[in-house]
């Protein structure tokens, strides 16, 4: 019997796993996808929220502000990229100006440092490409950007190094209590465990409701995005928000951690928890935003769009984080309703959950916990001397595989051979950015597939895009 099973290897699951890996316990993470961050965590704005948006007094507000503080520390410990670019909420209608004061008041109550209101001239000096309609803006200097995969991969790898077992492509189909714990049925066979942590994103209600009579309900709230080429990534430095609305924080125009620009997300509730398709109607709306210079004084060039994508928010009916032991299911812990600012909050969710679980289960801290982790060395970020040294040490760094993002074979090999090594095309992409550039993997696809097949010792025909049935090839020529 395992001590703890964590369902879900998204940002919540991996952060919880990492914090619990400080303790002596047999911990296993079950993930339906073939990689960390392949579900709810996969697609979002990648914003580190400062915490002015959450309602004062809520757990959401508390964990957001705490998560923001922790994020910068964790980034240093676990070597994942973050950037403090600040956030601006821009008011474009003089009649709505007082909304900024409401946000400022919330920021103050939530304990968000440094937030202030900038008048038009000041904010335009900071972001000269802001719309001419700019009246004033709320500025939050502790806002930042991050790659959600970067976070989950770092947390997952570190947890793994500290003894947490990860089982991918493992889908939990049923849970019921047994003497001293729980029985889980999965597509890979049954598992017994003393405790379960439910970090299943949009599916958290499904698992919660299997063991509890106090039902919760999570709606998949879809957000669609347009992603632009890095060539226009410099239009804004800060993440630029409109005034928030009923369904969320509104449609941003903002740079990503990698320097692309995006417009999004929209917010539409969908019935399908796997409904990550983009839709004509919403893409048209986003294109319209881009073309009509939403928040921005220039029209965004549509020929610089490199892709569109969508993600799902795990919206719990009360719009509040649930991070606790389920009242009528002992040793079943929920990390549920983790929607924005969930990414920012996840390091704090990890700490909070680890505290609750370790206390309840009387876990003992290990003395050999490894608190640091070294990420993949991104060749293009090195100095000329470092590059030379790297190639001399390993010639694979002299071979460019993805030309748009300048990713070398050395980085792809590292992504495959490190803890929780990449097995699929998307897993390589998330770890290295190979295929994320303007050609969207046109040139590097065959080469990346070849390297994956060679390193894992499998035929090319078994390589997948993202595990499961997502095979890249259907066979060989000359077969029919």
């Amino acid at each position: 019997m395992k001590d703890i099973v964590i369902i879900g290897a998204g940002v919540s699951g991996t952060c919880i796993a990492r914090e619990l890996s400080r303790y002596a316990a047999h911990i296993c993470v079950l993930e339906k996808g073939d990689d960390v961050a392949s579900g709810t965590s996969k697609a979002n704005s990648g914003v580190i929220h400062s915490g002015f948006d959450a309602k004062p007094g809520t757990l959401m507000a508390e964990l957001n502000v705490e998560g923001n503080k922790l994020m910068w520390e964790r980034a240093k410990e676990l070597n994942f990229p973050v950037k403090q670019n600040g956030a601006l909420v821009v008011c474009t209608d003089p009649d709505e100006r007082d909304h900024l004061d409401v946000l400022l008041d919330q920021a103050y109550k939530n304990g968000v440092p440094g937030v202030r209101i900038l008048e038009r001239d000041e904010v335009l000096k900071m972001e000269p490409n802001l719309t001419d309609k700019t009246v004033a803006a709320l500025y939050a200097p502790t806002g930042g950007v991050i790659s959600p995969f970067g976070l989950a991969i770092a947390m997952g790898e570190n947890a793994n190094v500290n003894g947490v077992d990860f089982q991918f492509e493992t889908e939990v189909t049923n849970i019921y209590p047994i003497e001293g714990g729980y029985h889980l049925d999965t597509n890979k066979g049954p598992i017994e465990t003393k405790a379960i942590i439910n970090a299943a994103g949009v599916y958290a209600d499904v698992f919660h409701n299997m063991v509890s009579e106090k039902k919760i309900h999570i709606t998949a709230r879809k957000g669609e995005y347009l992603l632009f080429d890095k060539a226009i990534g410099h239009i804004f430095t800060a993440s630029v928000f409109p005034l928030p609305g009923k369904m969320g924080k509104g449609i941003l125009t903002a740079p990503t951690i990698d320097g692309n620009l995006y417009v999004g997300p929209t917010a539409n509730d969908v019935d399908d928890k796997e409904g990550v398709n983009t839709t004509q109607e919403i893409l048209d709306l986003l294109v319209d935003k881009a073309e009509t210079a939403h928040l921005c004084k220039i029209k965004l060039p549509l020929n610089r769009i490199i892709t569109s994508f969508s993600g799902l928010r795990a919206h719990e009916d009360h719009h509040e984080f649930i991070v606790e032991e389920v009242a009528d299911a002992p040793n079943f812990f929920d990390a549920a309703g983790i929607e924005s600012p969930g990414l920012t909050s996840s390091p704090a969710i990890g700490v909070r959950m680890a505290k609750i679980v370790s206390k309840k289960m009387e876990l003992k801290e290990k003395d050999n916990f490894i608190s640091t982790r070294k990420g993949i060395t991104h060749f293009r970020d090195l100095s000329e001397e470092e590059k030379q040294a790297k190639i001399a040490e390993n010639p694979a760094y002299g071979q460019i595989i993805c030309r748009c993002e300048m990713i070398t074979e050395g980085e792809i090999l590292d992504a495959i051979h490190r803890p929780l090594g990449a097995r699929s095309m998307d897993a390589i992409k998330r770890r290295t950015r190979a295929g994320m550039g303007r050609c969207q993997a046109g040139f590097c696809t065959p080469k990346t597939m070849e390297i994956l097949a060679r390193e894992w010792g499998v035929p090319m025909t078994s390589i997948t895009k993202k595990g499961g049935k997502s095979k890249m090839l259907v066979g060989y020529t000359k077969e029919i």
Partner: protein, 420 residues
């Protein structure tokens, strides 16, 4: 720092032809830098025939066409590097390349020829809604997998875009046992050659649906189907015209874009229509001693024209190196794309010419019974009736030296489509 006379970036058809021509013109120190593991570029995967009718007066396949040039490069002893990527370049013609063996190396070139070719437009650029499963390939990526590596990317195929690569892949996949269900083309006409429509689609009863596009992609893991719909004159889908196709693969043949990341690093101004550098009659860009040719300059439909243009660029690079630089001997003339014309290459004339200058251009739509005219400032110099002109086929006009000499002070030349 090592110095080279002529550095050619790209060992595809443009780079090979430029190298051979430069050698023939007297250059003795040429280096071709190729990022792939073999010379020949995209020709290696274009195993169909139809190449070389202009150059060699016979029909060759892509690999055969490439081999004719590769053999010359080898026979001439022209230096080339494989698996080598140019990672940086500046306006002083300092080129930094990288490979496994040498690491990062910076060399200085007397002249640089840009011949990096083009890439395919991906799905994202089209904003096709739907899921993002496996099984969506650009036609060229599929072509490489099938023709060079022997893999099948899918067995039930829908193709979006009727560019030549898409048409060629429709036939190729069919011959390998796949079922190509339909080719959808958003425009009211195909950008592909008539010959390819007949021999790649009609021969195999593959329907071509003009004014149609993909409006949805189904399948979470692997493509399970796509929906196509008719579009109106603004290329917006018309509700109610949707048709579902079961398929495991969507191939995209929706346009090619010159690969000008390096050109941008040098600071070479690009033409907003071709997305390639603005060049003068010698194929020199706005940066002295930096030349461009082939698909990095503008996307061609025939490799023969790439070779011809690249050979000129090679010869001119040698002339530049020998003379060290050009002293403009006349006022610059701008060549403009007028009514009905999308772009011209070259875009400027910097020197007096001593042989007829070929100005290549593409038109914006299909024109029947119209004329191609050339204006020197406001004076019509040429006027030639054409049975048909289509965007898919590159057109040309010849500017004769005597015409230019007779109009010494003109500022612009304009190519227009007008009533015959």
């Amino acid at each position: 720092m090592e110095e080279r006379q002529i550095v050619i970036i790209g060992g595809g058809p443009a780079g090979l032809s430029a190298a051979v021509a430069a050698k023939n013109a007297g250059a003795d120190d040429i280096l071709i830098i190729e990022r792939d593991e073999r010379l020949g570029g995209i020709l290696n995967q274009c195993i169909h025939n139809g190449f070389g009718l202009h150059t060699f007066k016979e029909e060759l396949t892509g690999p055969e066409y490439a081999k004719r040039y590769i053999n010359q490069v080898i026979d001439f002893g022209i230096d080339y590097l494989l698996n080598t990527m140019v990672v940086d370049i500046d306006d002083k013609r300092q080129v930094t390349y990288m490979n496994r063996e040498e690491g990062l190396v910076t060399i200085k070139a007397d002249a640089v020829i840009l011949a990096m070719g083009c890439r395919e437009r991906p799905r994202g650029a089209l904003n096709i809604p739907g899921y993002r499963p496996a099984g969506i390939y650009t036609a060229g990526t599929a072509q490489r997998l099938v023709n060079m590596e022997g893999y099948m990317p899918g067995r039930k195929v829908v193709i979006l875009g009727s560019g030549d690569i898409g048409l060629i892949m429709a036939r190729r996949m069919t011959l390998e046992g796949a079922e190509v269900k339909v080719v959808a083309e958003i425009m009211p006409f195909s950008g592909g050659l008539k010959r390819n429509i007949v021999q790649c689609l009609d021969d195999f009863d593959i329907p071509l649906k003009l004014n149609h596009t993909v409006v949805d992609i189904r399948g979470r893991e692997r493509v399970e189907g796509v929906t196509i719909a008719e579009v109106d004159e603004n290329r917006k889908p018309i509700p109610g015209t949707e048709e579902d196709y079961d398929c495991d693969t969507l191939l995209l043949s929706v346009g090619l874009i010159p690969e000008n990341e390096l050109s941008e690093k040098i600071g070479v101004p690009l033409d907003p229509v071709t997305h390639g550098p603005i060049v003068n009659e010698t194929f020199e860009t706005k940066v002295s001693g930096v030349f461009a040719c082939g698909n990095v300059l503008h996307v061609h439909d025939l490799v023969d024209f790439v070779s011809e243009e690249a050979a000129k660029a090679g010869e001119n690079a040698v002339a530049f190196v020998k003379a060290n630089y050009y002293e403009p001997n006349r006022q610059q003339i701008d060549i403009l794309a007028g009514e009905g014309v999308g772009y011209t290459v070259p875009q400027t004339i910097a020197q007096n010419i001593d042989e007829p200058l070929k100005v290549r251009f593409r038109v914006r739509g299909i024109y029947q019974g119209k004329a191609v005219s050339v204006y020197f400032d406001n004076e019509r110099i040429q006027h030639k009736k054409k049975r048909i002109i289509a965007p898919g086929q590159m057109e040309e006009v010849l500017i004769k030296p005597e015409e230019l000499n007779a109009h010494a002070s003109i500022k612009q030349i304009k190519v227009v489509i007008e009533d015959a």
